[in-house]
């Protein structure tokens, strides 16, 4: 009992002590701050550089970051948010809580299609269906292919609760426009289940519950790097793949404006970007970043698809409803 109280007190005290240096509070998501994520390494490097204290707070996912900021409003403790999904940009902008950054983002890998005065991109990826090449010898080569196939079963995520889920929704919308409802109805026959988040879906796929799972083109790289396993591959669709860009931004009410700026600059510096591929399993935004060997085995996407944030914002609810009714029959 005593030991337990002592431990609790030590934690409380140490939380208080960390106020001694200048502190930058960054809201990000869980897997970012986990010990196998980029968080710990980035924290170490940045703290050395800025001679300050970096506090990374891990929330459950990217959506939660925005939700938390919205609920906290002007009183938020956060100085910077890291890990917002590009699909939510309009909503984030509308909150009016974020400030303009002063960083040059014109020389990034995605600069030909992404430019923003508030949001700084730090990594990006493409959605794709992952399959096990030892079990599926002839993967679909296009969305149409997938829709026509008779023996492919897939697992996807719920667009109402996860960003990949939303990504798929937008992907289909982008390709098929008004025909999206029919596409979903057809796709519905192949869906094994719709999970709340990416973790459950991917786990079920690895367990053999489906032939394909919605994930990122970079997923196979993890298995190659850490498990020396080459069998998982991404299906390459000729219609193109929907892109997800993750961004960071500075809060208007931050007390640490200068350090916030430093941080935003830092995450697109080579030092930080080099860490991302093998921790985030996404593509770094700067061209000079080192990519691990496993990335050579990934499919290359030449035609990334994207719907403008304003359009997403205007139609979000209706599209979700469409999705709900297509799959509810």
């Amino acid at each position: 009992m005593k030991l337990y109280i002592k431990t609790l007190l030590i934690i409380l005290v140490s939380i208080n002590i960390s106020h001694s240096n200048e502190k930058l509070t960054v809201y990000t998501y869980d897997s970012f701050v986990a010990e196998w994520g980029p968080g710990p390494l980035l924290e170490e490097k940045f703290e050395k550089e800025c001679n300050c204290d970096l506090e990374l707070i891990g929330l459950s996912d990217g959506v939660e970051i925005l939700t938390r900021i919205m609920y906290e409003g002007k009183n938020t403790n956060a100085d910077v948010v890291l890990g917002l999904d590009s699909n939510l940009l309009q909503r984030a902008r509308d909150t009016n809580l974020f400030n303009q950054h002063n960083i040059d983002i014109t020389n990034l890998a995605i600069s030909n299609r992404f430019d923003d005065d508030i949001f700084v991109p730090f990594d990006y990826g493409y959605f794709s269906f992952i399959y096990d090449s030892t079990k599926t010898s002839e993967p679909p080569k296009s969305f149409d292919d997938l829709l026509q196939s008779n023996n492919i079963r897939i697992i996807i995520q719920d667009p109402r609760t996860s960003t990949p889920g939303l990504g798929l929704l937008l992907w289909i919308k982008d390709i098929y426009g008004s025909k999206a409802t029919e596409v979903w109805a057809k796709l519905g026959e192949k869906i094994v289940t719709v999970t709340p988040g990416w973790s459950e879906a991917y786990g079920l796929f690895l367990d053999g519950e489906a032939d394909m799972v919605l994930s990122y083109t970079t997923s196979p790289a993890y298995h190659i790097t850490y498990e020396n396993d080459y069998r998982y591959k991404a299906a390459h669709f000729i219609e193109g793949h929907y892109e997800q860009i993750e961004v960071a931004a500075k809060l208007k009410n931050t007390q640490n404006d200068k350090i916030a700026d430093k941080f935003l600059k830092f995450i697109i510096s080579k030092e930080a970007q080099d860490i991302l591929p093998t921790t985030q399993w996404m593509y770094p935004v700067i061209l000079e970043a080192d990519l691990p060997e496993s990335y050579d085995h990934l499919i290359k996407i030449e035609n990334p698809l994207r719907i403008e944030p304003e359009e997403i914002f205007l139609n979000n609810e209706q599209w979700i409803r469409e999705w709900e009714s297509s799959l509810s029959n």
């Binding site: 934690i11 196998w36 909503r91 609760t161 029959n329």
Partner: protein
């Protein structure tokens, strides 16, 4: 004034519980709007969700009881065997495991690539897919709740005096008559209350419906609340839905309970029934019994075994030693779990101290009902709203990071109180009524009576109740995901985060560690502190 001392513990405990709930409501009450509720109720999609929520809860609860009942009636004859007692202890695992782990266990057994499907592949050359949809939801709910129902029913059966059994046998009652005249009256009330509890659990069963439902076709109110809160950023809507859920759950639960006859806190078992041999050496009956028990084991244990086997294949034990993240999670799991569990049993005992006197001595029904209700209130509250409410209320006053451990302990404690009350309740009342005159004769009263007499005599119920509260708290993923942080991480969170980063091996290790931890706690409590004679 001394005369009213006995009211203090119960009212104090009720008060503490209500304070936490009020703090939560305070954060969200300003978002409630009657007009919005009416609007939402008229929405057809919401109506279909409401219908499905009620439908699946009722069926799940009915099926759970349907399976637990024959199982209990059979097992009661074999309780003296060590092996049976061990199986009963293991049965708790499905009840206390984190929902996501339970769902994975189900999928490992019943899934498309699960054990049953593999058998089918071998025998008839085809894989089976039956788990994604209503079937899966029902199977999962049965998996989670049958052990709880089983123990509750066994508890009631334990209250039938041995003499009545002998009378029944002497009068040559057949199996149906035995049930109708002897067993049913004893278990009736308990089954109803247990059903109400299981109903409420299934009513808010978010993860199961989402993963095993297969798609938006099967959705429950809790999912809509979650969506409104997190994605639509629409607290008004979330609160309106929450109110609808609370009203529906309470009305239906109370409806089920209204069929009970006298107000009593219903029994729970310590495993020590002494039934005289009803059938002697009748192999047909024995085979039938063994079959039923095996079916039971298949329902609540086989999925877990499948999960363990699968985890063992994936995990790599060498990494356990250096894995500070895992060890750190283990540490917090133990600290937070034990704190909630102990607090929960403490508050339950306080509630019962007052309740038993209200029931035994004064027979003041309404006050007893209110106090017991405060303990059970948590069952009808949407967990997401509760946690969000607390977050919204407190964030302006405190630094959330600093109070997080207390909030986690508080909410988890609240969540497990209904079960502690159930497990301890009848034992406490039984002991109080048996020994009340002795206590009076020797002026054994107050705290000293509770500490030196009542608690030692209830040793095994307290042990089980502690074990269940602690392990239930350890298995929470909801509250910890809202209030946890990089420093404060429990095993369920570690597992979920691992899953979210491709780290299936770490997740498997986390699962194994959690299972080892919870099984040990339950075993130590039930097998070691269990029965003396």
């Amino acid at each position: 004034m001394r005369k009213y001392n006995w009211l203090i513990p119960g009212l104090l405990a009720s008060f503490l519980i209500l304070v936490i709930i009020t703090v939560s409501l305070f954060g969200i009450i300003k978002y409630s709007s009657f007009k919005l509720i009416l609007e939402i109720i008229n929405d057809r999609y919401i109506q279909s969700i409401i219908y499905f929520t009620i439908y699946q809860s009722l069926i799940s609860c009915f099926l759970s009881i349907l399976i637990a009942l024959p199982l209990a009636l059979t097992i009661q004859k074999y309780l003296k065997y060590r092996l049976v007692k061990i199986v009963l202890s293991l049965a708790w695992l499905s009840f206390i495991s984190p929902v996501i782990i339970g769902v994975f266990a189900i999928i490992k057994l019943h899934g498309i690539s699960g054990w049953i499907s593999d058998v089918s592949l071998f025998v008839i050359g085809e894989k089976l897919e039956y788990i994604y949809g209503l079937n899966g939801i029902l199977i999962a709910h049965i998996f989670f709740n049958v052990p709880f129902a089983l123990r509750m029913i066994l508890g009631s059966l334990n209250t039938i005096p041995n003499e009545l059994w002998r009378v029944a046998i002497q009068n040559n009652l057949n199996r149906w008559q035995l049930f109708k005249i002897l067993e049913w009256p004893a278990i009736r009330n308990n089954i109803l209350i247990t059903s109400a509890i299981i109903f409420c659990l299934c009513f808010t069963s978010f993860v199961v419906v989402l993963i095993l439902g297969g798609g938006p076709k099967y959705s429950i109110i809790e999912v809509a609340i979650y969506y409104a809160l997190k994605i639509e950023f629409n607290i008004d809507r979330a609160v309106a839905l929450g109110i609808i859920q609370i009203v529906l759950a309470s009305v239906l639960a109370l409806l089920i309970i209204s069929f009970t006859k006298n107000y009593r806190i219903e029994p729970y078992i310590k495993i020590n029934l002494k039934i005289p041999n009803i059938q002697s050496n009748n192999y047909k009956i024995l085979t039938y019994d063994i079959f039923i028990i095996l079916v039971g084991i298949a329902v609540f244990l086989l999925p877990i075994i499948a999960l363990i086997v699968s985890c063992l294949k994936v995990s790599n034990f060498y990494s356990l030693i250096g894995n500070t993240g895992l060890l750190n999670s283990l540490y917090w799991t133990i600290i937070l779990g034990f704190s909630s569990g102990i607090l929960s049993v403490l508050l339950s005992i306080m509630l019962l101290m007052t309740l038993k006197i209200l029931i035994l001595k004064y027979k003041i029904k309404w006050l007893a009902v209110m106090i017991e209700l405060s303990g059970n209130l948590i069952l009808i509250l949407p967990p997401i709203l509760l946690a969000t409410g607390i977050f919204l209320s407190l964030r302006n006053i405190f630094n959330i990071q600093q109070i997080a451990p207390y909030v986690i302990i508080g909410i988890n404690c609240l969540t497990t109180i209904p079960f502690s009350i159930r497990i301890l309740g009848s034992d406490y009342i039984r002991i109080s009524s048996i020994y009340s005159r002795l206590f009076d004769a020797y002026n054994i009263r107050g705290i000293s009576r509770v500490l030196k007499y009542e608690i030692p005599m209830m040793r095994s119920s307290i042990a089980t109740s502690l074990a269940i509260s602690i392990t239930l708290s350890m298995g929470d993923l909801g509250v910890i995901s809202l209030f946890g942080s990089t420093d404060i991480r429990t095993l369920p969170l570690y597992i979920y985060q691992s899953l979210g980063s491709y780290r299936m091996d770490n997740a498997a290790e986390g699962i194994l560690l959690l299972l080892i931890l919870t099984t040990s706690i339950i075993f130590i409590a039930e097998q070691i502190f269990g029965e003396k004679k």
